[in-house]
Symmetry: C2
Amino acid sequence: MSRTIPSDSVGLVNPQALHFERSLRLESGSELSNFDLVYETYGKLNKNCSNAVLVCHALSGDHHVAGYHNMEDKKPGWWDNCIGPGKPVDTNRFFVVCPNNLGGCSGSTGPLTTNPATGKPYGPDFPIVTVCDWVKSQSLLADALGINCWAAVIGGSLGGMQSLQWAIDYPDRIKNAFVIAAAPKLSTQNIAFNEVARQAIRSDPHFNNGYYYENDSKPSLGLMLARMLGHITYLSDDMLDEKFGRELSDGKIKFGYDVEFQVESYLRYQGRSFVDRFDANSYMLITKVLDYFDPARSTNGNLAAAFAPANARFYVISFSSDWRFAPIRSREIVRALLDADKDVSYIKVHSIQGHDSFLMPIPRYHEVLRTAFNRIAGETAP
Amino acid sequence: MSRTIPSDSVGLVNPQALHFERSLRLESGSELSNFDLVYETYGKLNKNCSNAVLVCHALSGDHHVAGYHNMEDKKPGWWDNCIGPGKPVDTNRFFVVCPNNLGGCSGSTGPLTTNPATGKPYGPDFPIVTVCDWVKSQSLLADALGINCWAAVIGGSLGGMQSLQWAIDYPDRIKNAFVIAAAPKLSTQNIAFNEVARQAIRSDPHFNNGYYYENDSKPSLGLMLARMLGHITYLSDDMLDEKFGRELSDGKIKFGYDVEFQVESYLRYQGRSFVDRFDANSYMLITKVLDYFDPARSTNGNLAAAFAPANARFYVISFSSDWRFAPIRSREIVRALLDADKDVSYIKVHSIQGHDSFLMPIPRYHEVLRTAFNRIAGETAP
């Protein structure tokens, strides 16, 4: 069934791909002899290339941020409510770029890519990358697109961590860093949840140590479990109560192990549909990217010292109901930025949607983004 | 290696068993034609049988609450720090009884028991029981022991739910109800975590729909995952940070999928050791007991109305760092008890151990218990 494209949408978009015929040395010491990045862009790069915005995706995101791939698409890109003509990140004014990150499963080089050494997919042999590696690869994409300096780098969750790393690693190539629903490093509990998710995948007999592409089976149950668990941590307790409460699918208790409470069928549905679009090896890898992120590791735990090189203006945003990366974690970032004498704005937005708030069109949140990007637009006029 | 029994221990104890040659009609409509309860007792029942205390165990607990089974035991019972001569629940003054609940896996009738209809273990065909069924079976145990009225019923977590149910179902057989780290019903998030745990067990190919006793294999990986996940929810974020932080097992990042962070090896250890002592069908069943608990279901959601029959004095205790059954959930109980004009004391104890606090010898907590049980001892003198 065909659809009408809303007038404030970026419309039909095509993913693009760039092949980098050069080696990329990774933080682990491994090297990719060459690599591809798939990405989308919206809006137009202005003459002096000063209006480019990099959007960084989170654990399960990809390059399809806004618009539609075809008229039959049921849903637009994952941040369509925020990016488009007249939207907070206004594509009439900004040139928006979003790549799929290395190690992902949506087209950029990752576990699904053929390993030149074996002629088979890398699978678990794809080297573990880091936020630093991602930022480095994104800088090469910027070079290729003729973007010397981003007007802004923006992302939520793991995306916000990339914004931070950009400000540290390329202080002269980023004017504004938006760090949304993020943390300066994972808490022990965050790592613990990631570990259970990875063990769920590894325990699936179809995982076969990650070498499952040649068999006609995937570790679907393991990945489904990982996603169900992740999903609980993305939503607030209150949100779950409001959305599902203790409602029973059949209206009464059945004294059995099939779905009874509506939240159970919701989670199973979320888990199942994720399996169709995501690769288990990428999931394993990206949870490791999260675990490893810790910019203060190289400054003996001193986060302010890690931020010392940065020149960007920082916008840090947290959400009251986010218990995965709670406001207190954002405040750690803000405190360190202040200690490092950086330019930082911080706001805690009231919400009930938990960590997922960063994807939601919460009026106060979008108002903050709109105001900030208006200011940036004024500064980047050609 | 032999050990010395501490002087404030109940010492060497023997589990006892009672066979009930009578049918027990369950809330589900199913019936057990007969059943066994395994239990331990400490201290002596006084002449007028007024000093009996029932301890109710939680999800993974059993009847071995205090003391040692033999001189080689590495650890005493699970609540040994609280129950013994001179301890908060003083076995010089009280006769303490703790049964393993129906559906458990430590000796009382449950999935491991032979199903008379088939001559094989019940396994997944063991009927799902409820907190009401447990309380009913405990009342039959009280009858058999000559206890007409408990001086106190005490329990943490799911154990606290049994205390509440006792006060509702047998108002004249309980003088004091201790409801520790509990909730009046599970939140949607609580149910969601239970669902992921059950799916982890069901996804294990060795689970075989619960019929795994005849094969020489158990759903160990699934049960291990369930326990790892549960364990995260029993501890506070701060506690995990303090205990493990982001410490690496080998001191440095290895860019691989083996254990790196110490919290990972801790969780795997916890998961593995649980598998040796617990049965997956019991785990499935008892998570359902938790999901179903909701005394206000029969009073159209009005918890105060559900408490109307109660005569007991209530002691409600919560812990500041408990996010599984947070203090706000205890306050729901307290508010309803006040609305129902019941005698209730409430205290929130500061702790960093999360939900597991109820098992810990936190001075303020034990002081509260000691004071309350002193008062009860004064009232129950023969």
